[in-house]
């Protein structure tokens, strides 16, 4: 049977077919749907969200050591968080097969950087598989479990956005049955004290040699002969783009790309006049091939940044003198247009806090989540954003070097606080910082689609869960000043943040309103603009609410008055609170008047 599946759905299906017993993850675009699909469709696989990628990874290690096949999924930057267990897991090896599925985001469609995680495979000296479409994502995941068990190693299956989120036709197979073993004590293998770790590092090097031989024979490294003088070495999505624009060339397609099948590459290069490497992001193949003394070219034609496309590959091949004519258009889209950036939803509780912070003109160290959308004009409320959890540490540092010891306000979402904000706050208490931390508790991991987390009371599989109480947690860390505010109350937000900033100790301000989209859509009575009273001052435009638009009617200076789209307005009242003319009113009251 065949089905149209995204790469993520294919990986989920693969986990089911491979008889994976446990899958753990922390959400992150473009990897999120892997676990969501498992939880929705393949209930025989136990699946869970962990508070962050490091814990998710460690849970996977435990399941594998317990003798079951385990899968861990995350976005590329998630592996930075999980790098600590990952690097040493290479030494201990596995029990049941262990696969780490990591999705990179070239072009940063939804990410803060575009690091190339193939380097992590080389860094940890574990095998790397790179699918180029959905079918391969499933096939390779199944093969990855065999490699993991045969070579006693974690395996990295590396996806990219255009693999994770592109759909293709996938052949569905029946699940296999695996034998689950028990954990066997073996301190020299599993307890990485220096004496034992030295021994294991040797094992890793020996394993790498065997993997090198294995890669030469891997069915995922294939030569396609079309009789051309030019040879293309490529892998992942770059293979598809190159085939699209130059189907008649010879190809060496790399699917198992660490360790590289260097003998195969050497022969392929020798049998062609010229060999060109086409790979998205870093010169991962190219540098290694050059280091092996084999002459290839690549990056200088195609570039290091952003995602590739048929267009970019065609341009590069033209530069390389390989393609004379480019079958596709010569120019990228040129139509000049206003930007349409993603924005905070109508009624988003983050908006009130940002309006307050903007009014107070303070420095705001930000974090990652929907609230990062408050960075763009007209709100322009965030001053820094590095990685998940960074807001608090950054504020502590700023506060410490600021002569007035006032520094910055840290703004962090609830899911991000659980992920990696708790230790930052602990630092603030321990080192007696004066920082003010605003925890925007909307009871959801909203940015990635509303996933459950330790504060929501439910699990990924839909069960009831343990639920952390944020104020109690903060108190236990040592915070004495904890204030709750209504994010829809503009004056209260301003007053509370101001008071807490003046305090001589760390303080936490927690907002109480839930996300308006998830888990339940919140729609209260909408507000309307009394157009006669509106003087076109545009104050309400500056809170960046998608429900507020320019009316056709203008004021005496030609500035548009405002109207509210009733189908979008959730009745949050924020615009009404800041309207100087008090001309934004509840719909029912306006009609009566």
């Amino acid at each position: 049977m065949k089905e149209l599946m995204s790469g993520n759905e294919a990986v989920a299906r693969g986990a089911f077919e491979a008889d994976v017993k446990l899958a753990s993850a922390y959400p992150g675009t473009p990897s999120t749907e892997i676990l969501e699909t498992i939880a929705a469709k393949y209930r025989s696989v136990y699946s869970q969200w962990s508070p962050n990628e490091k814990v998710a990874y460690e849970v996977g290690i435990g399941a594998s050591l317990g003798g079951a096949r385990a899968m861990v999924a995350m976005k590329h930057v998630g592996l930075n968080v999980a790098a600590d267990p990952f690097m040493t897991h290479s030494y201990t090896g596995v029990g049941g097969g262990f696969v780490l599925v990591c999705a990179d985001d070239p072009e940063m469609h939804s990410s803060q950087n575009e690091q190339d995680n193939r380097h992590y495979a080389k860094f940890a000296q574990v095998p790397l598989l790179e699918p180029s479409d959905s079918q391969e994502a499933k096939t390779m995941l199944l093969a990855a479990y065999e490699i993991s068990e045969e070579f006693d190693t974690p395996v990295l299956l590396r996806l990219t956005t255009r693999i994770s989120h592109a759909k293709g036709i996938v052949e569905i197979n029946d699940p296999i049955k695996t034998e689950q073993t028990k954990f066997t004590k073996d301190a020299a293998k599993y307890v990485m004290i220096p004496a034992y770790a030295r021994g294991r590092h040797k094992v890793v090097r020996e394993r790498l040699k065997k993997l090198q031989e294995f890669a030469e024979q891997s069915p995922f490294n294939v030569i396609e002969n079309n009789g051309s003088k030019i040879g293309i070495i490529t892998g992942g999505i770059a293979y598809q783009y190159t085939k699209e624009v130059a189907p008649g060339l010879d190809y060496l397609k790399l699917g198992m790309s660490f360790p590289l099948p260097m003998k195969m590459i050497a022969e392929f290069v020798k049998s062609h006049d010229k060999a060109i490497v086409v790979e998205e992001l870093e010169p991962f193949y190219e540098d290694q091939i050059l280091a092996a003394g084999i002459k290839v070219e690549g990056k200088k034609f195609f570039g290091h940044r952003g995602e590739y496309s048929p267009y970019r590959v065609a341009q590069g091949l033209k530069k390389a003198g390989v393609l004379k004519e480019i079958a596709i258009a010569e120019v990228p889209p040129e139509e000049q247009m206003f930007p349409r950036p993603p924005v905070l939803c109508p009624g988003c509780p983050h908006r009130g806090v940002f309006m307050a912070l903007k009014k107070l003109k303070v420095t705001v160290t930000g974090d990652i989540g929907c609230y990062t959308l408050g960075t763009l004009p007209p709100l322009k409320a965030l001053d820094t954003c590095i990685c998940m959890g960074a807001s608090i540490g950054t504020a502590i540092g700023m506060e410490r070097v600021d002569g007035s010891r006032k520094g910055a306000v840290a703004v962090i979402g609830d899911s991000t606080f659980m992920h990696s904000g708790i230790t930052g706050l602990l630092d603030a208490c321990y080192n007696k910082s004066n920082v003010t931390v605003a925890i925007l508790d909307n009871r959801a991991t909203a940015m990635t689609g509303g996933q459950e987390h330790p504060g929501t009371g439910r699990t990924l599989m839909g069960g009831e869960a343990g639920q952390v109480d944020i104020p109690t947690l903060c108190r236990a860390l040592g915070v004495k000043r904890i204030r709750e505010v209504d994010a829809y109350n503009y004056d209260q937000c301003i007053k509370t943040i101001k008071e807490e900033m003046a305090a001589d100790e760390p303080s936490v301000v927690i907002t109480s309103r839930p996300c308006v989209l998830m888990p339940k859509r919140i729609m209260d009575e909408p507000y309307v603009v009394d157009l006669e009273a509106c003087n076109g001052c545009s104050a309400c435009f500056r809170i960046s609410c998608p429900a507020i638009a320019a009316a056709e009617e203008t004021n005496e200076h030609g500035h548009p008055k405002a109207i509210i789209d009733e189908s979008l307005c959730t009745g949050c009242t924020l615009c009404a609170q800041i309207c100087p003319e008090e001309c934004i009113v509840l719909k029912s009251q306006f009609v009566k008047a």
Partner: protein, 200 residues
């Protein structure tokens, strides 16, 4: 359009139903025994940003994204987004554009930004075949604003070589049972519009 190879670009704004439209097209193509790939960006796009979905159909598809200048068909749920996507089109391709305008807050609150109310006219300068569809009005008339995507699909179906039967089957598999009937009606309305276009 040659050898049963089609590249279809669907664009709109987060929340408009772009992804369902591309699911339906893919389903029809699979039923016809063709290879299909489709690609879109999730995540940030949900929050009122631009959403685009690329669908590619053919005997064997490589790239899941459409090369610039190679789209045969464009469906746009919003007129400015249609204009934004116009350079992805083949000159002889057909663009089906809902005449709706969604003006983002950034335009209302920024002095130098303007909204192109003449989007359709500008598209017509580049493409021979631009069809404006009052999809919002038709959907409202049918009693459900969410029908815009099926109406536009109905129009598009007039330009692809699949019969009404396969489209109806696809709608029945992908749409919730209680909305199937109304979606079939909406689809038919669109298909009739296409038939009229071809005649005149």
């Amino acid at each position: 359009m040659s050898d049963n190879e089609y590249s279809i670009l669907i664009v709109g704004v987060g929340g408009q139903g772009v992804l369902l439209a591309s699911e339906l097209i893919s389903e029809v193509a699979i039923r016809a025994g063709l290879d299909v790939k489709k690609s879109e960006i999730h995540g940030m796009a949900q929050r009122g940003g631009v959403v685009s979905s690329h669908v590619r159909i053919g005997p064997r598809v490589f790239s899941p994204t459409i090369p610039y200048g190679q789209a045969d068909v464009l469906i746009s749920f919003e007129q400015a987004e249609g204009l934004r996507a116009v350079d992805w089109m083949k000159k002889d391709g057909v663009a089906i554009v809902s005449t709706t305008s969604l003006i983002p807050a950034i335009v209302t609150s920024t002095k130098d930004l303007t909204y192109p109310y003449d989007a359709l006219e500008r598209m017509k300068k580049k493409l021979a075949n631009v069809i404006g569809v009052e999809a919002d009005a038709i959907a409202r008339e049918l009693g459900n604003p969410r029908l815009v995507n099926t109406i536009l699909l109905g129009v598009m179906s007039g330009y692809l070589p699949f019969d009404t039967e396969s489209w109806n089957e696809a709608i029945k598999t992908k749409v919730k049972p209680k909305f199937v009937e109304i979606n079939l009606t909406a689809f038919e309305r669109g298909r009739q519009l296409a038939a009229q276009q071809v005649k005149t």
